[in-house]
């Protein structure tokens, strides 16, 4: 019954593509002006985590590398931008300008990813999972210990909202609405970039590695280089989401690096559907909004969340995306 209704809906949507796209665009643009400020805040949070989850999808869904330490890059993005821009007594307070902060964050994250990857990418499967956990936990302990730089367990406060521009033509994203558009813009950028990457020859190679790495090596590919590139790219995209989070909440906290955060984004991805890029978005929405909503009404929200996750595993193993797709074949 539901499958038929979904198919009919899908058919209608297909036929009216332009209309749907236009409606989506209008929704996205009008959103901050139509909903209450708190709902806007939730939207921003979901978009930020959607970027985070999409970045992990590149690693897990497309390259087949299960990382349990992805929060390391998320936290790196948060801490680097916090340290560079915060007016806190501990931090540098250099600049609000994204044009300076963003490249530094991306470069630093890529470097860390290459170094960590040099060691971690020699393993695979459960061992890769654990080694990425190890590196993330080591980063976490550094954040807690090195309080003169990271603020220790208190984190770095006073992170300002970003500005973008050159000289006189600088725009400051102070207001929530403007920050929303910044996040939306970056979200769309990351999505487009990832789309390009996964459908490019490079992306095909990654998928090949996921399917059978030995065969790819036999075919002459230097799989280690490809995996490192994927690892670095995934890390960089994750750091963007971490940067946005720190700027939105004016605060970088060690929780951003903790294994629970790595676990949460992994769950988001699995629930949403791996290897799809839209799955992570839905997973992010579910994992951030459901607990938020449920905890207002019941103390047993964790049980509820656990049940929802189990339901997904048993009845929708391909994730939310799988449900929406029904029985259709992948293009």
């Amino acid at each position: 019954m539901i499958a038929i209704q979904l198919t009919n809906t899908r058919a209608w949507l297909e036929a009216h593509q332009r209309l749907v796209l236009a409606a989506a665009a209008i929704t996205a643009i009008a959103y901050p002006f139509v909903v209450k400020p708190y709902i806007l805040s939730l939207g921003i949070e979901v978009l930020i985590f959607a970027i985070f989850a999409m970045s992990l999808d590149l690693l897990l869904g497309y390259t087949g590398l299960p990382s349990f330490g992805h929060a390391a890059f998320f936290g790196l993005g948060a801490y680097i931008v916090a340290y560079m821009t915060s007016r806190n007594e501990l931090a540098l307070g250099l600049t609000d300008n994204l044009l300076l902060a963003l490249p530094v964050v991306l470069l630093a994250t890529a470097l860390v990813a290459v170094v960590v990857g040099f060691f971690a990418l020699r393993t695979s499967g459960i061992y890769f999972l654990m080694i990425t956990l190890a590196f993330a936990q080591m980063l976490f302990s550094i954040a807690i210990r090195w309080s003169s730089v990271t603020g220790g367990s208190d984190g770095l406060t006073g992170v300002p909202r970003p500005a973008l521009g050159l000289g006189g033509f600088t725009y400051a994203f102070e207001s929530r609405e403007s920050f929303y558009f910044l996040v939306l813009g970056l979200f769309l950028t990351v999505w487009l970039l990832l789309r390009r990457i996964v459908s490019s020859p490079f992306g095909m190679t990654l998928r090949g590695i996921r399917e059978n790495e030995q065969r790819m090596r036999a075919l002459g590919y230097n799989t280690f280089r490809y995996k490192t590139a994927a690892f670095a790219l995934a890390g960089m995209f994750a750091s963007v989401s971490g940067l946005l989070l720190a700027q939105y909440f004016w605060h970088a906290a060690p929780q951003n690096l903790y294994w629970a955060m790595s676990g949460q984004v992994l769950i988001m991805l699995v629930v949403g559907g791996t290897g799809t890029l839209t799955g992570p978005i839905l997973g992010a929405a579910l994992m951030r909004l459901l607990p938020n909503f449920a905890s207002t009404y019941t103390d047993r929200w964790q049980t509820l969340l656990g049940l929802v996750l189990i339901m997904f595993v048993l009845f929708a193993p391909k994730g939310i995306v799988g449900v929406l797709r029904g029985g259709r074949k992948q293009p």
Binding site: Y38, G152, I281, N292, T296
Partner: protein, 407 residues
Amino acid sequence: MTTNKVSGVTRRELLKLSGAAATAYAAGPLLSACGGAAAGPVKAGVLLPYSGIYAVLGESITEAMKMYLDEIGNEAGGRKIELITEDTEMTPDVAQQKARKLIEQDEVDLVAGIVSTGVLYGTRDYFDASKKLLICANAGGNKISRDMKTPYIWRASFTNWQPNWPLGSWAYENVAQKVFMSAPDYGAGHNMVDAFANSFQAAGGEILGTQFTPFPAMGDPAPFITEIQGADPPMVFCFYSGGAAVTFVKAYGEFGLSGNIPLVCAGFTVEEDVLPAQGEAALGAQSGLHWALLLDNAVNKKFTAGYKERAGKDANVFAVQGYDTGRVVAELLNAVQGDTSDVNKMIDVMPGISFDSPRGPFQLDAKSQNPTQHIYVRRVEDVGGALHNVVIEDLGAFTDPGDDSLG
């Protein structure tokens, strides 16, 4: 199947993205169906952890706060008081979002709560920006009373400095002139150790060694206990809370240190919430805190009896803080005659708030935005078959200096 590409992206892909985003966006307004503005009762948001390791604190504070409000008929300043509780899950980001919900969606008049310092520091900027009053019911991070002060955050609890600084000189005079210190390696741990060390050393004491243990998970404490034994100090100062407090103190007892090396600690280490689990190992431990279960004053007797009846458990310092937070809210509303429309008016009356609390005289200090209160030295003793904290000395009233001059 049309495959028009828009800059390398198929229409289908854009459709999928739109569909996903639309679903995510639609979830928001669904949530906005709950809550809404209402004139009349004063709405107080309560932001506490109800899950995870600090759940006990959240529960105790809430129970006691409700107890106080029930005592005054849930009314003050001529208006009814309504509580809206939210779970911070001990994560600063989640807490900030919940604060937004309370302030922007539920449109509360003020917020009470916050257990952990990390969450307090992480939400400070939001309260400052939204100009909403927060009455902190626990988090003791010194900075909020010092360099991170904002007019919008006031405490009904303590600063990490407050119960430990007076204890340092007391310990020097009454227990030993040398000490070995142990605390978890995070903000509060350092705050407490620094405060104790400051007055201890000023009195002439010597610090034999300090160990900072892994945070948040200490794991097996045996190596730390062995290190302490190896240093053979005449006294140990420590601070732990929750599970770590139980594990540490129990190991302290199991290795035979309890009777031999006097344990002087920050009161939280042997507070009523962890004493039952610690058992005999805690017997004889002395600690400094701004309250004790068996503190002998009329308000406390009534409070502890009432709490025991209501919650079925002995009160603890967190409950007292919750109780006093309720009272601060009530006193505040009375002082502004129920007019919560101007936050500056509310801030102006805060320093004037003083009353007799279960902890003794309670007076909000204008500079540190924290109570001036008595600090008591307590000792864990067997009282009628159960272990409790008994007051052995009242050190007098102390006010947080509002700067880092005293540690």
